[in-house]
């Protein structure tokens, strides 16, 4: 593996980001539909096997299986989805309650595993009394480098993250973006094979963001494996097309954005629609729900409709719809409701993971 501190060949950054990436999650939108990629041919750099982690009664990570070899993988999810917990498990700061995590065959908790991992944490705590250069050099010395080697590596990584000329100031006076760069610099010091970056682009200005994206691509081109978390899909899409979406502690979807969307389109989504009786005198509540059900069945993406019993003390009639291609279905449903003037009391997707994935795709994708 080429040394990180060798001058990077920027031309190699043009290599498609998908090259060399073998990612297989066994968690899918629907457990019955496996997204498993071909079996690995050699020992993976990172292997998580059915990993679960609880915080008391709350589950942080739920049965996650993950295998990484190289390239950039984006981990996206809302706050509290379990991204940071998964990264802390991978970097050996937390231990899984169930399952196991291995880095190059070593237990992630072990010292040997940490030699292969560079971690850029989300936490914004430093040795504030030090300058950026002193901090990075201290981290290098704590890796076991001699003073001379530590200085050499410090200068190299500071140069790489664009902080070489600004590292003399005390850390407490740094902006958020500069602190992010120092965090990234210390993660690169020992030239790790696996870089785990928790929200590395947060707080960075657009120019700096572009520089970071280019740097990540360069690192990937050098054969490094990067696992980058973010809560913005749009941000990660610029960096990689291999995305894992986390929701409620699980990997809800994985693959390229297009793949995820395709699978979502083919996966029937269960939606509950509560319709209320309205001003049309000739229609009672019962007939209103039936009228909606009949109209829904005419939509091309609807594969089934079911009328449910009305809940007691509520003047609504629930209709359960099973539909493919959710994006198109919701567009058509909107038109239908506006044209026919249905009074919808509630619209709910009954699959949390799918809803989360959908939320991201609808929000984050331009297509």
């Amino acid at each position: 593996m080429p040394d990180l501190l060798d001058s990077p060949d920027s031309g190699r950054g043009d290599r498609p980001l998908t090259a060399g990436l073998d990612l297989s999650f066994h968690e899918t939108i629907n457990p019955n539909h496996s997204l498993t990629v071909a079996a690995p041919t050699a020992a993976p750099l990172l292997l998580c096997q059915r990993v679960s982690k609880w915080y008391g009664p709350v589950i942080g990570v739920n049965q996650v299986t993950l295998e990484l070899r190289s390239g950039i993988t984006g981990l996206v999810g809302a706050n509290g989805a379990g991204k940071s917990t998964l990264l802390r498990l991978i970097t050996g700061h937390l231990r899984p309650d169930l399952g196991c995590i291995q880095v190059r065959g070593w237990d992630a908790w072990s010292t040997e595993a940490r030699q292969h991992v560079g971690y850029c944490p989300e936490t914004d705590a430093f040795y504030e009394e030090m300058s950026g250069r002193q901090f990075v050099e201290s981290m290098a010395r704590l890796c076991g480098y001699s003073r001379r080697e530590a200085r050499k590596r410090t200068e190299a990584v500071l140069e790489r993250v664009g902080m070489a000329g600004r590292a003399e100031r005390r850390l407490r006076g740094y902006s958020k973006g500069m602190r992010q760069r120092i965090k990234l610099a210390q993660a690169l010091l020992h030239d790790p094979e696996l870089l785990v970056l928790d929200e590395p682009l947060s707080g960075i200005d657009p120019v700096g963001r572009w520089e970071f994206i280019r740097l990540f691509r360069d690192l990937a081109a050098l054969g490094k494996c990067l696992l980058i978390s973010s809560h913005e899909l749009e941000e990660l899409e610029k960096l990689t097309d291999h995305i894992a979406i986390m929701a409620h502690g699980r990997i809800a979807a994985v693959g390229t954005v297009a793949q995820i969307r395709d699978r979502l389109d083919n996966h029937p989504l269960l939606i509950r629609i509560d319709v209320r009786g309205h001003s049309h005198a000739e229609h009672g509540n019962e007939r209103e729900a039936r009228r909606l059900a009949a109209a829904l069945l005419k939509l091309r993406d609807v594969v089934g409709v079911e009328l449910l019993d009305s809940p007691p003390d509520e003047s609504v009639d629930p209709v359960l719809v099973r539909a493919r291609n959710p994006q198109r279905f919701f567009q058509e449903l909107t038109h239908l409701v506006l044209e026919e003037w249905y009074e919808i009391a509630r619209l709910e997707t009954l699959d949390d993971s799918t809803q989360a994935v959908l939320g991201y795709l609808l929000r984050g994708c331009s297509a």
């Binding site: 802390r88 010292t111 944490p121 981290m139 704590l142 076991g144 210390q186």
Partner: protein, 334 residues
Amino acid sequence: MYQSIFFFCFLFSLSFLGVLGVLAVRRAGLSQTRAWCYLVWLSWQRQARASQMVWIAVGLLAFAVALVAIFTAMGAWSMHYWRWPYRQGPTFLQWADEIQIVMSVRDSSASGQGVQAALAAAVRGIVEHSGFAIFSHWGVFLLFLSFLLPLFNLSFATEALGGERESNSLIWLLSRPLPRPAIYLGKFVALLPWTLGLNLGGFGLLCLAGGQPGWLAFRLYWPAVLAATLAFSSLFYLMGAWFRRPAVAAIVYAFFLEVILGNMPGYMKRISIGFYTRCMMFDAASAFGIQPERPDIFLPVEGTTALAVLLGLTIALLGIGTVIFSRTQYQEIV
């Protein structure tokens, strides 16, 4: 003899720590020894950032030294000015003179005169050499041992890991390719110069301010202070690895549990660090008549036994702390 044993044990325990540290890092390659040495150096430097607790401790030391110096200037470390009946009667020195006069009047024979002279000299000797006993009681046992020593230890020892946890900066050490036991032992080694310096230095200053009795007290008691410092440091350092609010836990232990346990009748007091420290001090100063007020209740142990217990406790607490630190997931720092 006694101090030689102490030195041997102390050097042995330090070597033991060093060997443990080196063994812990050897697994990960030779360069990790260098990383461990740098960790010790870095931690020692970072301990210098005096926290609020340390400033409080230094302030209290200054106050205590000033107080002792005033008492010394007033000649308070002696029974010369004690009175009997309390506050009203003659001073003890006057009593000694009176006893000599009265006895010489009662028996004028040569042998009687000899016995009376010896008795009077003994009384005068006790009164005049009472300074060490009084300084030991008030300056050492009550002020230093019960209050300053635990406070000095907890101010630095709880901060060593507790401060890193509180500021979330422990993550940088835990992210490095250093074994956790090596990190724990390395930070303890870095802590020792500060606690030993503050305790022995503080004790030295206090004794210096105490004049002649203070100097004697320092010569006799410093091994006990050193052993107690090691034991307290390892205990409070362990609390830093264990509790999220180690300073609170350490204060509760030092000023409530130690006091309660130390005054328990029977063998219950033997689970307090202060008990063994006092035993070492009683043993060291036994030639000067320093002993527990009620030996039948205090039930002291031999000085060497006390020393062995304190050093054994230090090593045991370090071992327990190493295991706890190696297994704990510090969720608050990541």
